[in-house]
Symmetry: C2
Subunit: 205 residues, 2 copies
DNA sequence: TAGATTGTTAATCGATTAACAATC
DNA sequence: TAGATTGTTAATCGATTAACAATC
């Protein structure tokens, strides 16, 4: 065990372990080893043991890790042993796809509101949600205590929307706009930009 | 200049610089400094200078970097000074959103074919593309010499689809399925999984 | 017990930062 | 020239790996 600050890079790998373990559990596998898990996710066994051991002694010598137990621990560490309400901002194609995506609920998230500033979209449906006007966003998010948002507006509108989200008390933004957001230090941002991801690979072609 | 192997972590930052510079260029800005660029993307000035200097001396003491020049260099390094044809596999909501996405062409990519194995989707339109049957995928990709693919099929179908893509000669896969893919060593994979990205932030909430 | 695999230490490896001479 | 900023070196910091005693 270790009470010191855990490096960000380790936190970043835990969701990958969690995802792989969840898949194994679905297949009914009860036990795994750092070796086996490492092969699945492409990370060395030593690193997996070291990462996990930052948080406790969750394995057993000779037998490895009991998957349901390790799942519980990882979910608790990552705070996805609960369901986070998520606000979706931007009801374009990507927003609609996310609103209809079935994969969030068993990973700790559920969309609860959808916003757009285009009057022709407000009032329309996105998945099961009625699109609301961005005018009421800060108020709605604050009242609901939502801390997590996904941003799928055009690049030109993204910074302004991020400012509103920060103002509304959102602390985690998943940004689909192809632009680096400027946010207060207590707000975390993750980027999803397909072009950027593709460009990380073309260098090697 | 430096002919040695460039670390992956540096290559991974170049698309971020490229994106920020492209945005500055659109606004008509001609020149920037490592300091200014660093503030925009949240990376130290020293690191930006070091990263860029791996590939040549692209700046000028006293004045910084000429943006159009640096853009050209970065595009050439990342091999996005051309347009890569991309195959899209999976014509669900996410596939449709990507097929209609306008942001690829000025970043070095264009979708040229869309596949799905669901007979009810084959023949339908996704963006401007007629969805083709996965049966003909290997042959079509091979014949067209496509090297880049985006994978938006359900998790259960992703590994099989990845195997076909590898067989077809694809060397870069952008994987939207929430599963770690197993591919030959000469194939690169990047993951886009919104739940994983969100889980990297909930730890800090 | 014998075999397997953890948790952890120490060694290695790699990345980041600070500082500054060079120079535009 | 004076001011600004690069490219690069050396120092620091942090992450990964290898190895193995502990133990299930």
């Amino acid at each position: 065990m270790n009470a010191e600050r855990i490096p960000d890079i380790i936190i970043g790998r835990l969701p990958v372990y969690l995802r792989a373990l969840q898949r194994m559990a679905e297949k009914g596998v009860q036990t795994t080893s750092s070796q086996e898990l490492g092969e699945r996710v492409g990370i060395s066994a030593a690193q997996i043991r070291k990462d996990i051991s930052q948080f406790g002694e969750f394995g057993k010598q000779g037998t490895g890790y009991h998957i349901p137990f390790l799942l519980d621990k990882l979910r608790a560490i990552l705070k996805v042993d609960r369901i986070w309400d998520v606000a979706l901002v931007g009801a374009g194609d990507m927003g609609h796809a996310l609103a209809r995506y079935q994969g969030f609920s068993n990973r700790g998230f559920q969309i609860v509101m959808v916003f757009d500033n285009d009057p022709s979209k407000v009032g329309q449906m996105a998945g099961n949600f009625k699109v609301e006007n961005t005018d009421v966003m800060v108020e709605r998010i604050r009242a609901a205590g939502v801390k997590v948002a996904m941003l799928t507006v055009p690049a030109a509108a993204a910074q302004e929307a991020a400012d509103l989200l920060a103002k509304a008390g959102v602390k985690a933004i998943l940004n689909y706009a192809p632009i680096s957001l400027n946010v207060p230090p207590d707000v975390r941002v993750q980027h999803i930009d397909p072009a950027t991801h593709l460009q990380r690979m073309t260098y090697y072609l």
